[in-house]
Symmetry: C2
Subunit: 201 residues, 2 copies
Amino acid sequence: MLPKSLVDLIEALGKLPGVGARTAERYAYYLLRADERISTELANAVAIVHSGVRVCPITYALIDSTEEISPLYADPERDRTTIAVVEEPLDIIALEKIKQYHGTYHVLGGAMSPIDGIGPEQLHIPELIARIQKDKVTEVILATNASVEGESTALYIQKQIIDQGVDVAITRLARGIPVGVDLEYADIITLTHALEGRRKL
Amino acid sequence: MLPKSLVDLIEALGKLPGVGARTAERYAYYLLRADERISTELANAVAIVHSGVRVCPITYALIDSTEEISPLYADPERDRTTIAVVEEPLDIIALEKIKQYHGTYHVLGGAMSPIDGIGPEQLHIPELIARIQKDKVTEVILATNASVEGESTALYIQKQIIDQGVDVAITRLARGIPVGVDLEYADIITLTHALEGRRKL
């Protein structure tokens, strides 16, 4: 019913996360109708992304393949004695956007999830422990997600650090009511965290 | 903050319809982490889609660049005296899926929309009128969308056909309550159509 090259494109686009048949059709049809420059740019970008990106051997952030280590670690302005521990490389963008954090990062590469077969040995936890000692770290901010997996990963790392007997502050991002959300719409767990973490004015 | 090749990919993916920055990031990160075969397939499919697809000079359906005319027109099993007029090439897929229609198609290439500067002269309407006479068409099914643009395009085409003075039945797809939708949830326009189009049992 459809040209083979269009069917192939719909199939390839349908492999993107959360993209069903209808969405893939819409994307493919857009690429077909749009200026050829747009599809050429996309084809090139997809083709070179694997070779253009590598993983920083210290922080496990994604870096340009021309770089040796992450600029967010190499930069002398960044405070290496503070490490924000995140699950995925893209979490770094979220934290960098607020422009308030001047420490370094450590990407775990996911969170512990027994159901998906991801245990602590699949995550960059030993490398984190080694960094804490090597860089004389004074604070580790456990910025894993507020999911069951993120929380248990944070707990596990906390225990690992304590077991090392090193003197380092271990913190976790504050949980509470997000800005702009009315009290009545906050869920019970968030509200519990907000109450527990209440601050003196 | 991110490797240049990843930023470029996020930007290119962000041009797809309805894809915002966060979704583009998710797609790009998926392509980076997935097997290189998946991104290679996508890159190739995007790269060749323009050269692999052409437009049928009779029905304006999308066809393989190796074909001369649409198989849905060339096939002797298809009844050329019936034409379903649709807005976009992908609408053909929807109608072909029901496997009940054995006529041919005519793709308009959109619908009349003064606000977007699309008038009848941008659509393949003269070619439709010519086909009606050439193929001795007995029925034209106006299968444009149930939007304001689709309805006014259907009305315009109806008038054009009548002006030709040819003896051809002009029909429109039935409007009514979709299967599985409760009466109480049907909108007022759909319900009006359903009442007007009620059938004897």
